[in-house]
Symmetry: C2
Subunit: 372 residues, 2 copies
């Protein structure tokens, strides 16, 4: 394996450790802020780093369209282009092709689509997805897969999963191995235990640096998602990182860690921050609510982020009412810091063998005061 | 005088020194970034400070409407509310009442207007303008004046100026003097030498901590503006700071400093930054221009700001094309840094007795490559 993954402690199915990449170490369980087009929206890379993030995610679909992977490569790769010296994971673009682009044609070879930006026609195949991510210089490359729509019949899910497994093999064949750079496979199979097991086995057969669980966080709900994790993670190698794509809210993350997941990414903290929604240990707050207009208290006591150490809820409320950029900037900063503080607490709890206790305490407080 | 103003060096009509306020010292000539509603758009206060700014400006009109001066006062004043511990100057609100609000009624007593935000009715008088700025805890309070429209006949300008002078007296009478807090008068009189002289004399008679020159930067052009400064500044006290309101571009500032002006404010660096326009020592650049799409060079060599030290023009171009917040953030940061570097160079040149030489060198380079 080209990426060393060391597990320092386990607690039930949960694990904590370090994944080492060409651009640095990632403490797991890890949350990866999403930097879609080469920027975590509203944040400087220094600000992202200050929240405790070890790794960020870039979106192949967006970057291949604009500014193009070739331009990024000419400018020294994505790390240099966007001034993020740490590890970067890029998705394969498959998910966004399905959710954002128009006029898609899916064949065995790959997918042809029209860009949502300017209608231009593009092709993505396992080989092209590897080439793009190589040009971007991603530390962690994802195989091209078809994200099976939800819901899907077992027969639809099987057909889709099997295509993804053939694409996984072609991705592996096309991936250029270099020290510290890794390729992750993606388990598909919708909500069907037999298909998830088959998919996990097929990927293990090919051999990857890490194993992602795809096709979740697409509207199936937390209970079903946890259920899929329960019957999927036992089929994954214990000595390689597991990545639950596109997840999630704090309670999703805690539950998934308990089921053996090591890595997460989600737009929730950044997108919510832009729309006045703050995550706190007392639940979610909409800072635009009238109750905050004259509230001198910080968003959250003891939070180390600038939004909480330097400002009152009243000021944050004012910024959003006045539609000032600093509002989204500060709430994004807070949410990312909150997520990273959560991951830090999770890692410490696993080390102490007290994850269940931590989870219960956290969620009791988090749910009790949740406004929604 | 409650605010100490020490002139360290002069060079022709130009001066450099320190104006001391309740919240700290201001190195003059000074450029004040505009923080309209309690935030310099797109910047944290730490970022503003890092550019070299000693003082920022807040707009009374905006703040009295939202979140209201009373709310700001309840939260410890504007410095604490917005986390800017340094000096703050607030305008009187008069200019924005005329340019932004609807259904104005101007009388001897003051002005009644409807807010541009929600149509609510408000009154502003010299006494109320003093009260609001006191509540905001402004280090430098501006008298309420009527910003004479341009162009105006001599008779219109005289009538307007005389109203402003009566309001200046009422402002002085209502201003609560405290150590380190100052009140500035505003010279009006449009483009008429006799009126400007009369206005300056009237203000000197009342006695202020500083003297602003108002009614300029309203479309009269640089030549006429310099002309007005030429016949106005000789009538102002030499031992008090002079402030040219709403000015300007780099060449406006250099010319005005040469004519004896000590303080400036303008939205140009911040507003331009949000709209892809960068100020550099080679002139103004629109970073959205196609020529920057693949340009690996920084916006400006040797500029200490994060936009220039960490990123290429290609990346900045990409951010603006993708409509990412980091684009406006970085270009605002650069423009403010550029303006503060300019002020630093101006102050050094005055100290060295070489302002004319500096101005010629700067402007030759600045104009030669200007794209517009």
């Amino acid at each position: 394996m080209t990426q060393k993954f060391t597990i320092h402690a386990t607690d039930g199915n949960a694990r904590t450790g370090i994944l080492s990449t060409a651009h640095g170490d990632i403490r797991t369980p890890a949350f990866m802020p999403v930097g879609t087009v080469g920027t975590v929206k509203g944040m400087t890379p220094e600000a992202v780093k200050s929240t405790g993030a070890d790794i960020i995610l870039g979106n192949t679909y967006h970057l291949m369209l604009r500014p193009t992977a070739e331009l990024v490569a000419r400018h020294g790769g994505l790390h240099k282009f966007m001034n993020w010296p740490g590890p970067i994971l890029t998705d394969s673009g498959g998910f966004q092709v399905m959710s954002l682009s128009k006029l898609r044609k899916l064949t065995e070879k790959g997918v042809t689509f029209q860009a949502h930006t300017d209608g231009s026609t593009h092709e993505l195949s396992p080989e092209r997805a590897m080439e793009i991510q190589h040009l971007l210089d991603s530390d962690i490359t994802m195989v091209l897969d078809e994200c099976t729509p939800f819901p899907a019949t077992e027969s639809e899910a099987e057909k889709s999963m099997q295509l993804s497994m053939r694409w996984a093999q072609r991705s592996k064949d096309a991936f250029i191995q270099r020290d510290g750079y890794g390729l992750f496979g993606i388990v598909q199979g919708s909500v069907y235990p037999r298909l998830r097991e088959e998919s996990a086995n097929a990927l293990k057969q090919i051999g990857f640096d890490g194993y992602a669980i795809g096709g979740l966080a697409v509207g199936e709900g937390q209970e079903l998602m946890f259920n899929v994790l329960d019957f999927t993670t036992p089929h994954l190698p214990t000595d390689r990182p597991r990545y639950l794509m596109g997840v999630g809210k704090p309670d999703d993350i805690i539950g998934a860690v308990m089921r053996g997941v090591d890595m997460f990414d989600c737009v929730i903290p950044t997108r919510s921050g832009r729309f006045a929604r703050a995550y706190t240990d007392e639940g979610e707050r909409n800072i635009l609510n009238a109750q905050y207009a004259d509230d001198p208290r910080p968003l959250q006591e003891n939070c180390p982020c600038p939004a909480c150490t330097n400002y009152s809820c009243a000021y944050l409320n004012h910024l959003f009412k006045a539609k000032e950029m600093l509002g989204p900037i500060l709430l994004t900063w807070h949410n990312l810091a909150f997520y990273q503080e959560l991951m830090k607490s999770i890692r410490a709890a696993i080390s102490d063998g007290k994850l269940a206790e931590f989870g219960e305490t956290f969620l009791t407080r988090y749910r009790r005061l949740n406004e929604d």
